[in-house]
């Protein structure tokens, strides 16, 4: 028994059944230990970033801890984007990196990199095991921390000599229980109830904390009981089914007109597990200008961080919602009952008036229509997105019924997320129907993972929306940089159908709207992994769009393209404005 073998057994004791990784020099003892640990299924990716994103997708879809492994130096640095994504989107992960032997640490040894220091700002916590005796505490704490409270990634840096050190004297691994979430204080609940009871135009603003708090059903019960119109963040989508009559859709930069205007006109925002992200709020100073705020969150540091809360309810969201549901419902027909009824009607009427249209003219494929149709054909699917225009189209048009069925790189916006995340989601539930929606820019960030898909014969269905451009950047250059297109042209893309087939993945091509249903059905009916390459219009844009540093009430619509220069001229973009996706 050495340290590496002890660690492998500890992972099994923690309930880990799958880990994603790539071997190399300093992690070889751990890979050797896998030989004696059949309970651990190791998935060999083709790039360490794929391992981190696959573990990330595994964790997002299942709610369990995702585990990834890499060697020191470049192996560890290649994990970094996936770790950052897990931190920003609160995904429970344990990351194990090999390290040069302790005697060589700090000597600039071959493949020595201080991954501990590199990742300090992007982990929930991290450890360096300098002695084999450190392992029991560090492994137990890593899993406890990853799972407890607001989840996140925890890194264990594991020098090679610690992996090979004798470990027979170590106790068998004993997992630690997850910390119980703090209960909300009575006084804060009373304050929240008072504000909710006084409101005439309340809006529920739900975020990713609903699913993280395992509070989806409680949230739905609260919505149904209180009849409060609801908007959702990108990470909150699915907390209320898309078709629910009180669901006004996503708010923010690419939110629906109904959602954004409801927020802007509301007199009370009831924020549930959301954090006033800038993509959701637009110009913060003009966000929901008439609203008082009830902010429910597990974490104290989120309450009042960006918007002062008139009532901050810190604590477990399930408990908070459960305790507020009946008292809030009692006010449904109270003194503000008529005003609220009119408000609901106004919100619904606006949602109907501004509902998305799918009857785009012409013969070419209209991506929103395709995505809506695919979600109808595969209502049970888990959809993993990449980042860019297609990601926003999924958010706007996919019929979602649970947040864990929508895997999207929300806060980091990391291109290359989709394919490996879909692999992770498929491995956490081999019977699940998993769809990856990607773009021609994003998929080339981790296209090597088609080999992983092929090796394990994972039946992931990929829809590749190819506009031969970095579409989101192109859209911004069109609207805000006077159509000076700079380095967004991908018209020399590879033949994706041939490329997929070269990896051993069956592939189809679609370029006409009238072939859409047949192509989607063929994709879904395919045995094993399959890719549908869809040619779409390069000029197709995502609408609505709130220009940067503008109020959410100032949404541009498709026909407003020509108005964009006027907005730009009257309010130049701040220098800090950036767009990270395509």
């Amino acid at each position: 028994m050495n340290g590496a073998r002890w660690l492998a057994q500890a992972l099994v004791a923690e309930g880990v059944d799958t880990l994603f990784g790539y071997p190399g020099g300093t992690i070889m003892p751990f890979y050797d230990a896998l030989h004696g640990t059949p309970a651990l299924k190791h998935v060999l990716v083709r790039h360490e970033q794929g391992a981190a994103f696959a573990a990330n997708g595994y964790a997002r879809a299942s709610g369990r801890v995702g585990v990834c492994v890499a060697t020191s130096g470049p192996g560890a640095s290649n994990l970094v984007t996936g770790i950052a994504d897990a931190m920003l989107d609160s995904v429970p992960m344990v990351v194990i990196t090999g390290q040069v032997p302790t005697t060589l640490m700090g000597t600039d040894a071959f493949q020595e990199l201080d991954v501990f220091a590199m990742t300090l700002p992007m982990v929930k916590h991290s450890f360096i095991a300098r002695r084999v005796e450190d392992l029991p505490m560090m492994v137990a704490e890593a899993f406890r921390l990853a799972r407890s409270g607001r989840p996140g990634p925890v890194l264990i840096d594991l020098p090679k000599d610690v992996q090979i050190a004798a470990a027979a004297h170590l106790p068998a691994h004993a997992p630690l229980p997850v910390d119980a979430a703090a209960a909300p204080k009575d006084a804060s609940l009373h304050e929240a109830l008072a504000l909710i009871s006084q409101a005439q135009r309340p809006v529920l603003y739900g975020g990713g904390g609903i699913a993280l708090g395992d509070a989806v059903q409680d949230f739905r019960t609260f919505v149904d009981a209180t009849q409060i119109p609801t908007v959702l963040t990108l990470k909150g989508l699915g907390a209320l089914p898309t078709r629910h009559p009180l669901n006004l859709g996503m708010l923010g930069m690419h939110g629906s007109r109904a959602a954004n205007l409801a927020v802007q006109e509301s007199d009370l925002l009831v924020v549930v597990g959301a954090r006033f992200d800038d993509r959701a709020t637009g110009k913060l100073a003009e966000f929901a200008p008439h609203a008082r705020v009830v902010h429910m969150d597990l974490e104290a540091c989120e309450i009042g961080k960006l918007r002062c809360a008139d009532a901050g309810v810190r604590g477990d969201i399930r408990t908070t919602l459960a305790r507020l549901t009946l008292p809030c419902a009692a006010h449904l027909h109270g003194r503000n009952g008529q005003a609220r009824k009119a408000w609901r009607a106004q919100c619904r009427q606006r949602a109907q008036q501004h509902a998305a249209r799918y009857d785009a003219p012409g013969d070419s494929v209209f991506a929103p229509a395709l995505l809506k149709r695919l979600s109808e054909l595969a209502p049970d699917a888990v959809v993993a997105c990449d980042v860019g225009q297609h990601q926003m189209w999924v958010a706007q048009h996919w019929r979602l019924d649970h947040p864990r069925k929508h895997l999207t790189s929300g806060a980091l916006g990391a291109m290359g997320f989709g394919l490996p995340a879909a692999i992770g989601a498929q491995l956490q539930d081999p019977a699940a129907r998993v769809v990856c929606v990607s773009g021609d820019g994003s998929i080339q960030m981790n296209i090597q993972e088609l080999a992983t898909l092929r090796r394990y014969q994972l039946p992931v269905k990929i829809v590749l929306l190819d506009n031969q451009a970095l579409g989101m950047v192109r859209q911004w250059q069109e609207l805000f940089f006077e159509k000076r297109y700079s380095e967004v042209d991908l018209s020399d893309n590879p033949d994706f159908v041939a490329l997929a087939r070269a990896f051993g993945i069956q592939a189809l091509h679609l370029d006409r709207a009238d072939g859409m249903d047949a192509a989607l059905q063929a994709l879904l009916a395919a045995e094993g992994p399959a890719l549908l390459h869809v040619a779409i219009d390069t000029a197709a844009n995502v609408w609505p769009l709130v220009p940067p540093n503008r109020s959410n009430s100032e949404m541009l619509e498709d026909a407003a393209t020509e108005a964009a220069p006027a907005i730009r001229a009257s309010n130049p973009l701040p220098e800090s404005t950036s767009v990270q996706e395509a």
Binding site: A117, L120, A300, C301
Partner: protein
């Protein structure tokens, strides 16, 4: 605004770097730092003076959630 921070930390690898990094990233500039290991050898006592315009309550909450931070107190100072 200027604040005085009193922190008790685990004497763990990276604890000081995490506190300093969090403080700076969250918008506060350290202007004085003083610290020592407590007699039990397992903990640090760290005193910092910082300047920043963001809410001190948020900095307090961000520091308090660090695993290595056992206690933190933030007080305005002149």
């Amino acid at each position: 605004m200027r604040y005085r921070l009193d922190l008790t930390l685990r004497h763990a690898e990276g604890a000081l770097a995490r506190v300093l990094g969090t403080t700076e990233r969250r918008g506060f500039r350290p202007v004085a730092v003083e610290g020592e290991t407590l007699t039990d050898g397992d903990r640090w006592h760290l005193q910092m003076t910082v300047e920043g315009e963001r809410p001190a309550e948020t900095l307090h909450a961000q520091l308090a959630k660090l695993y290595d931070c056992l206690h933190v107190q933030v007080q305005p100072c002149s």
